[in-house]
Structures are given as C-alpha cells and as structure tokens.
Amino acid sequence: MKKQFILEAIDVTFEYSDGTKALDGVNISIEKGKKTAVLGPNGVGKTTLFLHFNGILKPKSGKILYNGEEIKYNRTELTKLRKNVGIVFQNPDIQLFSASVYQEISFGPMNLGYPENIVKEKVEKAMKQMRIIDLKDKPTHFLSYGQKKSVSIADIIAMEPEVIILDEPTVYLDPKHVQEIMGLFDKLAEEEKTIILSTHDVDFAYSWADYIYVMRKGKVVAKGEPAVVFTNEKELDWSDLRKPMLLEIYEILKEKGIMNGSNIPKNIEELKKCIK
C-alpha cells in the first residue's frame, strides 16, 4: 500500500522581515495517522515550519501540500485549512485569551460558524477528552500551568482537526503530566488523527514517535524511524544532540553479547525482554 501523506513541505524557504533565514529548503512529508516528532534545539525553525502548515506564514519559495493539494491563501481555503490543522502553542499563557475556560474553548468552533448548540456539544466533548470538565467554571487565571496546557489542547481538539500540531508540549510539565497527556495523544492517534510535535527531548522523541525529523539551522538534517535515525552515526551531526539513553545502553549490552534478537527496544520493558 502506498503511503498517504496528509501534509507535505516541498523545498520550503522562509525569511523573516529582518532578513534572517528561518527555513532553508525544507522537505517534510507527514504520513496520515502517524506520530511524527520534529527534533532540534531552540531556534532551528520548528515553530516557523508549523506556522506554514496552517497557512499563518507563506513560504518565500516552495510549497505546502495538504492531502496532496497545494494550499491556497484566500480566506475560504485558509479557514478550511485551519479547521483541519490545529496548532497548540508552547506557552498557554499566550494562547489563552479568555478568562473563562468554557468561553476559551468555544472560540475555535464559533469561528467555524457552527450554531450554538453544536458549539456547546463540541466544547463539552473536548473537555471530556482532556479530562477538564471540573475546570468548566474556573477562571483561567486560577489554573496551574499543567491545567492551562490541557485547556490549550482542548482549544484545538474542539475544532476536531485532522492534524494536531504541538509546539514543545512537554516543556515545564512534570513527568506525570507528560505521561497523562501522551496517553491522550495515543488515543487520538487511534482515531486516525495525525499528530506532529516538536521537542528537544531525545529520550522522549525516541520512545514516542513513529517517525522523526531532525532539524538544524532551518534545514532537515536527518529523518527516519527513531531506531534508524539514532543508529546512523555517520549521517548525524551530534553537536547539539545526544543519543537516547536507552539506545546507548542497548548498544553497550549488544557489544558485550548479552542481547537477544535483532529488534531495537523502544522502552525499558522491551529492553528487559531482549536481555539473555
């Protein structure tokens, strides 16, 4: 079966008005229904790339395809695109504009022009999915950082997009919260949603993603399935990356000849099973 790509960036170049090149010939193909991680340190253009995916920014050269078709930058097409491609921004304090959690989440569906009763349904469904029903009557400024993050994700889920893009979702969250939110993403992935996220956490990207893109200075420098990307020593410039700890340990054990099988383990349980 041929792979179906829902979002593609073809030779995309972008410059900010002050002349800094943010993207420099980026080629990325996001497979439908998969979990893709874009890895790289701060300031390599991950956020700029995401803003291209729902038409906030327009490439200087190159093009963006959604479901195989080049996106058009008129109002109607953009509204459709933004319904289908949602972005959860890094800092929830900047994304949340309303003091009421309920009103906040209703903003997206309202913009899509649904009648009020449908909007209410969608808001409530999103709150249920994010398990924040109990925050309904709370003002935004009472929430903890983790709760604000959950609301900012519900903002997007309420619009029922095909693709959910998350910019550094794990930053500032403690491990327990990260696990909870990742559990929710796995559920969304089961519903055929495509999930893209940026991160600089190699351990996390390694065990979470189906496919990884590594970016540096506005360019894609490596791509592939996690185990492939990180074992391709020569190809990868390690100057601002490190190997996932699990992989490193796996390689040591393999060298010493105490690993079974040829599958590279993705988490500790898998590692445990492979040890002779």
Binding site: K83, I94, Q95, F97, A99, S100, Q103, F107, N111
Partner: protein
Amino acid sequence: MLIDSYSYTNRMYNVHPVEKLLFALLTMILCFEFDAYTNIAVIILMFVVTVFKAKIPARVYIKLMLIPFSFLIISILTLIINVIGDKSVALISLNIFGVTLGITEKGINTAVILFFRVLAVVSCLYFLALTTPVVDIINVLKKLKIPSLFLELLQLIYRLIFVLVEAAEEIYISQDSRLGYATLKNSYRSLGFLISSLFIKSYKDSQDLYVALEARGYNGELKVIGKDYKFCYKNIIFIILIELILISISMLLRR
C-alpha cells in the same frame, strides 16, 4: 487580588448575574435618596447577604470596608472645616492669620449623611464585586447592546491583567533577590527596569497572541459563548420586596 478570587468561589456564584447586578445597582441608586438610618440598614443588609448567604469570611469583608476609610475621613474633614463669617453658628472655631475656621452644626449633619451614604454604596459595590465574576458581568453587558469592540477589549484586558501581574511579580522577586530594592536609588532604577521590560513583554506577547488566535480561525471578532444561567423568579420577587421595604423605612423616617 482577593476580591476576584472570592467572586468565583462564593456560595452565590451560580445565582444569575442579572439578579445580582439588579440587587446591587438598584440599592446603590436608592442609597442616594435615603437618610442616614436607612443607609445603616443597607450596610447591615449587605453585610448579612455577603457574609451569611455568599459565605464571604466576615474578616475579609471588614478588612475591605476599611479600605475607603482614609479617603472618607480626610474628605469629610475637609468638607466640614470651613471659613466662616459668623462665629456664633460655629460649634468650634479657630482664628489663624485673621481667618476664622470652624465647624457648624449644619456641616456636621451633612457629613453624617454623607458618611453613611458612602459606606452604604460601597457595601453594595462589595456585594457585587465579591459575588459576581467579571466574566459574568461582561456577559450581561453583551445583552445591553454595548459596542462589541468595547466588550472585546474588556474581556481581553481582564484576562491579560493576570498574565501581566504574574510577570510583574516574577520580575519584582528576581530584582529583590538581587538587592534591587535595598536602597531608594536602587528602587527607582529597578522599578524603571520593571516597567519597561513589562512593556516590551506586552508588545511581544500581543504579537504572539494574535498569531495563536489566527491559527484558530480568528477573523476580526472574538466570538465566544457564555455559560447558561437560570432566572429565579423567587429571587426577583425577593429583591423587589427588599427594595420596597427599604423605601418604606425611609419614607416613614422622613415623616
């Protein structure tokens, strides 16, 4: 901001905001026509409703009532101490540089009425502010055909106040940790830094906020839907009854 946090956690949170607004504003306006005794009744009424019905701690309520006192006392002293021509009408008088200053009985009467009126109106304000979240007040204003631009600004500013207050607190603590407020000279410099960096942050964040809203299909209007409230006709009747009682008390006292 203590008042704001109580407005979301008090026991009257779920009462229809129109009912609360009606009660507070109607009483407020009537206070201007009431005599001192009726206004004392209003003060007691608002205290009882806010403390016993909405369950705002009495300690908090009384602390809030003390806020206006400094302004009140100084303004009233200013009002009642006057230059007077006829020493005989003065209860107390004093000559400074050939000018006679004094207090008259009439002045004191006016002051007493003013004093209790102010406290009565203030307690109406506190009832409203402590029981009704700003979000609800804005939702009520929406129904009054106030220009949507104004309401959108209200809504945005209310949310962003908390974002900036948090940022200001963080900057202040970080400066204080580095001895930014150890001397008066340090304090001025630090405060200047704080204000300018808050301003820069505001500018940058406003650009990011726009992008985040655009990504969710923003097209010039901040459309949202509010919570549903149920009118309680019993409450409306109750409010009208209370106002009627207050009016009749003042009528009786006037006679």
